[in-house]
């Protein structure tokens, strides 16, 4: 019962968060007033009337998604009134913006959105619910498919009445988790910068790509069938049964596929975009702009293909938090942390001890010298891109598991990845790891004193302070900076 309730709540949250994607520019067509009653949830059957002066222009009733629309005779000033009688008993109309909008100016061709907000009784301005305070951007006609929760990672299990020490511990854990995810995604960015000198703006969208691929494959029935078959066969076998049962869970299989596809995407980009551009002697600054163009293409293709909704993975979602001393953490987040550490150690070992890793570091250090000492630079660069793509896809899956999957997740993570890379030192893989952890911790711990909406702002602020005092970063060497 409780599980079902939570599922329903999640569905409601997803519905609230879903906003249609729009364009930046002006719109065409007839003038309308429209809106969506969706806070705290979508409400059907609310009457909204539009007046011009004292003349009634039209009435609309919200549909099952809470949407309403009134067509207007032309531009001008209108008054929009919400009928309080039609509001169901479990809601009241919020004090701001109230039940009436006066002086709604509609310009020629404008499809203007008017916002009404409902609340649960007793839950007034002073105690806004999370969805209410963080969410809404559908309030403009030139809207975009994102909303207020962007980049705001909720720290799980932090309640207002826990002591300061517990809070610090809890946020530290959340910060470590966040930092590890940033670090995993950023290592590739830093390696690519080191080997090719390119600041890859499309890296964030490679993260989104990984997350969305995992989402696509986690819903595949084939994987579910495989999982059922495996667990059916091996459920009695000691140790092997549960382990393989986990490994063959659809989500885990989908993650592996996503990593493979992410690596493939990196390799394809390097082989068919960046290598030809290098052959053409395109300057780095031009390549940098190309990467921004590529990022835009990738991001919006993903937006069109998957829609602008925030989606959660079907698996590993509803978990009881475990208590480890004062800290509460879900098994999912703990697994993400352990796996992230393992992967980062693995990458470090790869860089430190294998031939390929040494070659990567050599190319990163001095491309020409590496080439003249017999390293196949093109091939090493290809490996770096593959590794970077795979890692970013993994980071995307972890980020999506920890929070939600949406088309701009990678872009929001990208700015933090840049901060991490700059903080640690551009071009050094270890710097990206250290920088990622610092950024994650700063972001989460800032919520102790400051509003959580600004946590990413603090992380980026740290980056700017770092540029002021030590531009080469924590682990960077001084001569890297021009």
């Amino acid at each position: 019962m409780r599980r079902r309730l939570v599922t329903v709540l999640l569905a409601v949250v997803a519905a609230i968060l879903a906003t249609p994607a729009g364009a930046v520019a002006d719109t065409q067509g007839g003038e309308t007033l429209n809106g969506q009653i969706r806070k705290p949830e979508t409400v059907e059957g609310i009457d909204i009337t539009v007046f011009q002066g004292d003349e009634e222009i039209g009435t609309a009733t919200t549909d099952s998604e809470g949407r309403w629309e009134v067509e207007l005779p032309g531009p001008g000033d209108y008054r929009v009134v919400l009928d309080e009688e039609s509001v169901p008993d479990e809601f009241v109309v919020a004090e701001r913006p109230g039940t009436e909008h006066t002086d709604v100016q509609v310009r020629p061709g404008q499809q203007r959105t008017v916002i009404f907000v409902l609340e649960y009784p007793g839950q007034q301005e002073s105690t806004p619910s999370p969805t209410q305070s963080e969410d809404d951007s559908a309030g403009e006609s030139s809207g975009s498919g994102e909303d207020g929760t962007e980049g705001v990672a909720a720290a799980p299990g932090v309640s207002a009445n826990s002591s300061f020490g517990t809070k610090v511990l809890q946020l530290t854990v959340a910060g470590l988790l966040y930092g590890l995810i940033i670090a995993i995604s950023a290592v590739g960015l830093s390696l690519i910068f080191g080997t090719t000198g390119l600041t890859n703006f499309a890296h964030g969208d490679m993260v989104t790509f990984g997350a969305l691929m995992a989402l696509l494959f986690s819903g595949m029935t084939l994987f579910a069938d495989v999982h059922t078959a495996i667990t059916g066969l091996l459920s009695d076998v000691w140790l092997l049964g549960p382990v393989l049962g986990f490994v063959f869970r659809p989500m885990v299989l989908a993650t592996l596929v996503a990593i493979l596809l992410g690596g493939l995407l990196g390799a394809v980009l390097e082989r068919f975009v960046w290598r030809p551009l290098r052959r053409r002697n395109v300057a780095l600054i031009q390549m940098f702009i190309v990467s921004i163009g590529l990022a835009m293409v990738l991001r919006h293709v993903l937006l069109v293909a998957f829609g602008g909704n925030r989606i959660t993975y079907p698996d590993f979602q509803l978990q009881e938090a475990m208590r480890l001393g004062p800290v509460a953490i879900t098994p999912r987040d703990l697994t993400i942390m352990v796996l992230s550490v393992l992967v980062l150690v693995g990458v470090a070992a790869l860089l430190q001890f294998t031939r390929v890793g040494k070659a990567m570091r050599a190319v990163s250090d001095n491309r020409d010298l590496a080439e003249s000492s017999g390293i196949n630079v093109d091939r090493v660069t290809l490996y770096v891109w593959t590794l970077g793509g795979a890692l970013s896809a993994l980071g995307g899956v972890f980020y999506g598991l920890n929070q939600v999957v949406y088309w701009q997740m990678g872009f929001h993570l990208l700015l933090l990845m840049f901060a991490a890379v700059i903080l640690g030192g551009l071009g050094t893989a270890y710097g990206a790891m250290v920088g990622g952890l610092v950024i994650g911790l700063v972001a989460q711990l800032s919520t102790l004193w400051f509003p959580s909406q600004l946590m990413n702002a603090w992380a980026l602020g740290i980056m700017i302070i770092m540029l002021l005092v030590r531009p080469q970063g924590i682990l960077g060497r001084r001569e890297r900076v021009g």
């Binding site: 930046v24 520019a25 030139s142 975009s144 069109v304 840049f418 700017i464």
Partner: protein, 328 residues
């Protein structure tokens, strides 16, 4: 398909106020990138502070409109100093990363809950542009002919916006043909050479950043006056990428480059939009819906950016030799 409708839509948007606003912001970007070689990827941040300068001053504090525009410009100067002091001494891509990050931070701050009393939070602000439209000298009515007609309000807006574009262009021409402009262009070509001539490169770069930022702030102010509303989420990073596409399409390092780029770009964008909409509504294309056209348009801008920079970095009217410099 109604070709005439497409052409009419496209022409209206190409000479409309939005195209003028983008041209003005792109002129600022041209100052940064086209003449000085600065990689500013946060031009939208300047537009944001310019727009909110007007909106907050008028709506929240009840100042007159001209004071609001001055406040917006002052904010842009402050933002340019904030961006420039840490990054202008470093390699070019540091400035790029910092500008895009700061523009995003500014948007997050302006939409934050605790500032709602001042900035209106995610709901933004309305009703601050009345003073502008009260000055409208045109008597109400339709101006123009047939499908190319504007009402008095739009005509007033367009006159002012394109007038500002003209002023900015003239100012830019005078500036880049002055001794100051030669130093600026020298910095783009070879920073060390200029430094060896005893010029303080940092100060010149800073002046360029401030000046271009002020143009951006003016564009932001005009944008919100045109819409009569402001919300933080219309200042997404995509706007900056649009500006880059406009600048590169028109030709960076040319006075008229951004203006031409904006007109052509909005013509093409609206035309493709209009064609796609007609095709989907008449059922020729079934695999995309109307709501996805915005996404497709952004993707097309991305493609344009890539193709332009690789195959024609000088844009429509630029000088290829000038644009092939290696920015360090």
């Amino acid at each position: 398909m109604d070709i005439l409708q497409v052409l009419a839509d496209a022409t209206r948007s190409a000479i409309g106020p939005v195209a003028a606003v983008y041209a003005l912001a792109a002129i600022g970007l041209n100052m940064h990138f086209g003449y000085t070689g600065l990689l500013n990827f946060g031009q939208v941040g300047f537009m944001l502070v310019g727009g909110y300068g007007v909106a907050v001053s008028v709506s929240t504090f009840g100042l007159p409109l001209w004071a609001g525009i001055l406040v917006g410009i002052a904010c842009a100067v402050a933002l340019a100093l904030l961006l420039g002091v840490p990054t202008l001494r470093l390699r070019a891509d540091y400035l790029a990363i910092t500008t895009i990050a700061v523009a995003e931070v500014a948007r997050l701050v302006y939409r934050a809950e605790f500032l709602r009393d001042i900035t209106g939070g995610v709901y933004g602000l309305q009703g601050f542009a009345g003073g502008f439209y009260d000055l409208n000298p045109f008597p109400s009515g339709r101006y123009g002919f047939g499908w190319l007609a504007f009402n008095a309000r739009d005509l007033w807006m367009m006159t002012v916006a394109w007038g500002l574009v003209l002023l900015a262009s003239v100012l830019m021409w005078l500036l880049v043909h002055s001794p100051w402009g030669r130093v600026i262009k020298g910095i783009r070509e070879d920073e060390d050479a200029v430094r060896s001539l005893g010029k303080n490169v940092f100060v010149y770069k800073m002046q360029s950043l401030v000046l271009g930022g002020v143009f951006g702030a003016l564009a932001g102010a005009m944008l919100v006056v045109n819409q009569q509303t402001i919300t933080p989420d219309q200042f997404m990073p995509q706007v900056t990428f649009y500006l880059w596409a406009i600048l590169l399409l028109g030709g960076a390092g040319r006075t008229l480059g951004p203006v031409l780029g904006s007109v052509v770009m909005w013509f093409l964008l609206t035309a493709s939009d209009s064609v796609l909409r007609q095709l989907t509504s008449s059922g020729v294309i079934t695999f995309i819906t109307n709501s996805e056209i915005g996404g497709i348009r952004h993707a097309l801008v991305g493609v344009a950016l890539v193709v332009l920079i690789v195959f024609r970095p000088q844009g429509l009217i630029g000088n290829r030799k000038e644009m092939l410099v290696n920015v360090k």
